[in-house]
Symmetry: C2
Amino acid sequence: MGDLEIRPAVPDDVPAIVAMLADDPLGAQRESPDDLAPYLTALDRVSRDPNQHLVVAVREDRVVGTLQLTIIAGLSRKGMTRSIIEGVRVHADERGSGLGTRFIEWAVEQSRREGCQLVQLTSDATRTDAHRFYERLGFTASHVGFKLPL
Amino acid sequence: MGDLEIRPAVPDDVPAIVAMLADDPLGAQRESPDDLAPYLTALDRVSRDPNQHLVVAVREDRVVGTLQLTIIAGLSRKGMTRSIIEGVRVHADERGSGLGTRFIEWAVEQSRREGCQLVQLTSDATRTDAHRFYERLGFTASHVGFKLPL
């Protein structure tokens, strides 16, 4: 396979990003690939926030993955800055290629460059394969993640 | 008890905030109440970010609680904006006063005002009392929270 590039997402990437978000047991019910307008609005907002990094992985001019990294300053733990990883998706053709690992390693390195001392993420309790994947990369399943839809 | 006010934290609040962060079974090992400089630096950074709300609860001119709310735009779930609650602390004298509930209700209302459709938080797996508290407020423990210290 050709070289992999990880770079900030641009509007032209949105159809491929939304297709990956929707190609997922949980995402299939949540996304609207036929109406990209809300995604383009969200990308514009994310792109103007210096603490947000919405990136795509590109191989041979094809978008094959997406990930969102948010940098959050805070007071707890001696004024520690942390990062949060959300919305990790890898194209079905790329599973097993090591892209997931490359992607999380990128997020960890970017977090270090921005002075973070903690990287965190939550994963739906049903995604047991993902849990093993994060544990292999050194993450600890130390917390319970709560959600409240509004 | 007198009226409760919830307002953005200012530098003069930092000693009281740090005292609450440290007065906690987990926080006791993580904080440095004798050196406030890193906390003041962090508050300055947080205060300049329009997507961050670090607030205190004040009763009779005394800081009795602190909470951090972060607004995060994103592409998943049709370009949904979510919020994340971190660093919730209530002064020991105020436990059982309903302040915790008022605080989370404030965060939920602020999230609605900013167009969020999801509020999320993680809680250390050992804080079982906190888990019951969040479930009573309507949160679902649907996720596993992973952390990687750098």
